[in-house]
Symmetry: C2
Subunit: 355 residues, 2 copies
């Protein structure tokens, strides 16, 4: 029996998690597993109902579970709330409270989606890399982060802060991952400007010594933003600071043609992991049964593999997604002229059929 | 008589500034202007010869000039120097000392370079926008930026700091620019996480009231990194924080196929402006007469227009570049299979002939 906490969140978060739960159910039926789903509030809906973006109860539920599935949070309704009453705060808090330091964002090229990508086929064909984003430190969490008066003038400050041990932990994680893959780590920083990046680079060099079979390369973040578009095939494992990882992984989603295709896993030091699509709550299409559920379905495939060790089951889900795409089924975000466009629920059914 | 300070810097900086000076000379000959060039040291070479990346003398020279032309700085030789003895420090210092708050990076689509871009032609055709990057504040200059011991542990901190007035200045600049263009400003921030971005967004809203004819749109930086690749045609003027602008403009260079195509101008509050290509010193190809001089040549076109008001002359340089590209001439960075590849000096000659 596997206990899964489901945090649907806002906007399309509801639709896509529903689809993914459906897929997990199909896997359970086929393999005789029992998945027990418990639902918790997070984000805007939690603010509306409980007055806080991350209710204590939700956090408790997640910590008691074997894995967490999250949809997405946020929407215009809460955009002008004070910082502590913003949906995103719930997401940042759960990452911090559950110690989810390693966010893994695999970027996979799908032959059949080449037409949806803004990039030329020869540029992306065969690209296959993972962005490892540090998730509980850096510019997202450093203090102070506040308004202040400096010499009589209004000013504002945010802080990029890391303990050396935090940098070491994420870089070690990246090397361990690369060892099981193509044995190359690209450490992305801005060492020609930031002191934190210079420490990052030092630590990367040190960690590399413990992994003589893995090649380490340093790349400046501006160059990385360019190289991701220019020749993404050069990458295997990219490891970087929280904010840099946020920017680069959204950019990298364009290799597959849509943010709606990219899953992620956030691993903890000591507790359950969390799985979420990298896309947001997309308020503009919420409730219209239009959203692409594949990123979330691929996220539960990662859950099966990484949290439950159910490798075969994970493979089957991933293969089912590939098969459905190869058969030409598309949600609107990845559809081209002439494609027959499916709704969210129809797409989920197709994947289910393929399982 | 126009006094131009030339800071060649390191690596290909020398070759590309030489080419651009050549072009300015051709313009002088044709129009009967006098350009007076004075040379100053900056970056790695300044460290080697004067023990500092920005000698007092260089700064003095620049401040006395009507405009500054900069090549590029940096190289592996100085990569392990302490922070204050790194070539990039010279660049950061000159930006700060000359009050170069507004870095303008136009991104122009060249029909004849469509083949060199990793992006599909229909995505980039007709794209024409400007990135306005704040250049003297933000994460680049905030203090503290240092190692420290926190609760007995090694740690590191960098600071993103802005005075409200600095944000207002750059956003006002962007609106003024948009008024002369397609009348749209995209303000890029990370307001769902950073306090500085929330102030940025507030200020943008306020400034927008003074420009009722210009449309303001807010975009999160992760989304912007994606949209630049997905549909760059939507943009007119993008305005953003220093580090965000650094990342996004390198990414955007891929629309033209090469970093070697993008010029920039950095405007001052109160003194001369500085012009530089957005590419770096490219140590790997330095001294080989291979570098693309067009970004620097296009930078001097910006100089002619913005610092000297020589609009016709600027147009002629830009048209000459276009003509040379249309005629099929390429440096190696923008060459495709079958192209006849020119050296740096040959490319400069072609542009000169076209003038
Ligand atoms: C919603 C937002 C706070 C979040 C982030 O910036 O981390 C999102 O963009 C992501 O990438 O998961
Ligand atoms: C060389 C470096 C310090 C510089 C920057 O980061 O500003 C460069 O990347 C640029 O964009 O001009």
């Amino acid at each position: 029996m596997y206990r899964i906490a489901v945090l649907q969140g806002d906007g399309i978060g509801k639709e896509v998690t529903k689809g993914a739960v459906n897929i997990l159910q199909a896997i359970a039926d086929r393999f005789g597993h029992t998945f027990h789903f418990s639902y918790g509030l997070i984000g805007g809906e939690a603010i509306d109902r409980e007055g806080t973006p991350l209710p204590e109860q939700t956090l408790h539920l997640c910590k008691q579970s074997d894995a967490v599935l999250l949809g997405a949070v946020g929407g215009p309704k809460w955009d002008n709330n004070p910082p502590h009453l913003r949906p995103e705060k719930g997401l940042l808090q759960i990452r911090k409270e559950m110690n989810l330091f390693a966010n893994i964002r695999p970027v996979t090229f799908y032959e059949s989606l080449a037409a949806s990508s803004p990039l030329k086929p020869h540029v992306i064909e065969g690209a296959d890399f993972v962005i490892v984003r540090e998730l509980t430190g850096g510019l997202y969490f450093g203090k102070p982060s506040e308004r202040r008066i400096e010499k009589g003038e209004e000013a504002v400050v945010d802080t990029l802060f890391y303990k050396r041990a935090e940098i070491e932990r994420i870089i070690t994680f990246a090397f361990t991952l690369a060892q099981k893959r193509k044995k190359k780590v690209t450490s992305v920083d801005k060492a020609n400007v930031l002191e934190s990046s210079r420490m990052w680079r030092e630590v990367a060099e040190q960690v590399a010594k413990r992994f003589p079979d893995v090649q380490l390369e340093h790349m400046l973040v501006d160059n990385a933003a360019m190289q991701l578009v220019r020749s993404p095939k050069q990458f295997d494992v990219i490891v970087t600071e929280n904010m840099f990882g946020d920017i680069l992984s959204d950019e990298a989603s364009m290799l597959t043609g849509s943010l709606g295709m990219l899953p992620s896993a956030s691993l903890s030091v000591d507790g359950p992991a969390l799985y979420e699509p990298i896309h947001g709550s997309a308020p503009d299409i919420a409730g219209q049964n239009k959203a692409n559920p594949l990123a979330t379905i691929l996220s539960v495939a990662m859950m099966l593999r990484l949290s439950f060790g159910l490798t075969e089951e994970a493979d089957i889900v991933e293969r089912a997604v590939k098969q459905v795409l190869d058969a030409g089924y598309r949600t609107v975000d990845i559809a081209q002229h002439g494609d027959c466009v499916l709704s969210t629920t129809e797409m989920v059914e197709k994947v289910k059929d393929a399982i």
